[in-house]
């Protein structure tokens, strides 16, 4: 499984969403990485990409609502990080659609996506959890 217990930041509702996000990324990567003809794999790749992509938006929004609720001081900066990444994902999805899902580009996107998400959770989101622990804001 792609999700690891050590990615937990200690805020139960956020951890639950992160696990859901990683599960959807895993479905996308499984479709993408399995042996076989690219064209035959494409319907599943498109489906899992969309399923994952939708949840990126849902999760980032929910996380920002939570940050507002707890009065997180880095909310604005965190929002910009989310926005930049969401824009990147949406732009890629748009380009894939227009260009017929070229394999190289989709593989590149997937590699970056996974590394970015892991780092975002274990570094950037962890700061939010440090704040919660310090302020007792949970």
């Amino acid at each position: 499984m792609m999700w690891k217990e050590k990615y937990k930041i200690g805020i139960p509702q956020i951890d639950k969403q992160h696990k859901e996000l990683f599960d959807r990324v895993e479905q996308f990567l499984t479709a993408l990485r399995k042996e076989g003809d690219w064209q035959e794999k494409l319907p599943e790749i498109k489906k899992t990409l969309l399923f994952m992509q939708n949840y990126v938006v849902v999760h980032f929004d929910a996380e920002e609502v939570y940050q507002k609720k707890i009065g997180y001081p880095d909310l604005q900066q965190h929002h910009l990080i989310h926005k930049e990444f969401t824009d990147y994902v949406m732009q890629c999805a748009h380009d894939f659609e227009k260009e017929g899902y070229p394999e190289q580009s989709v593989q590149k996107f997937a590699g970056k996506l996974l590394a970015w998400l892991i780092n975002h959770v274990v570094a950037t989101d962890l700061k939010m959890s440090d704040y919660v622990k310090k302020e007792g804001a949970l």
Binding site: M1, M2, K6, E26, L29, T30, L32, R33, Q104, Q107, K108, F109, A110, G111, K112, L114, A115, W116, I118, N119, V122, A123, L126
Partner: protein
Amino acid sequence: MEKQQLPEKPFLDATKSVFKSMLDMDIDSLPGDENPKQEENVRIEIAMVGDLSGSVVYNFPKSTTLNIVKTLSGMEADRLDDFATSMLGEMANIISGNAATSLSGANCKCDIRPPQITISHMAQSDSHNSVDMLLHSQVGELCEHICLSSNV
């Protein structure tokens, strides 16, 4: 800026912390006279601009790359394809971004450019002015060449 003053520390610290947080692994420096492994390498060059300019080159040998990909994705990986090289490119991007942030915090403002990724057979640095760091962790070796000069 003289070679001895080159800012390898922010890069070493950033590499250590990214390996720790993303892979849960520690990193050691190997002695400078040790030769890097001769195998296919993912070479990632990240240009820097600002108070320091030049580039930082990361060389991840094939075995190290595949071990990182397996660890992060939980999936089998046996070739240096676009998925693998792009994942490593993003890791190098994160490390360099963190190093640039700590340099900027120390009043040395710099920005990074997007990673340029190639597959190479040479682990050695192309420059004589760079500081070379040979590092080792559970996933294998990696090399960083820091070639930056001061503009202030």
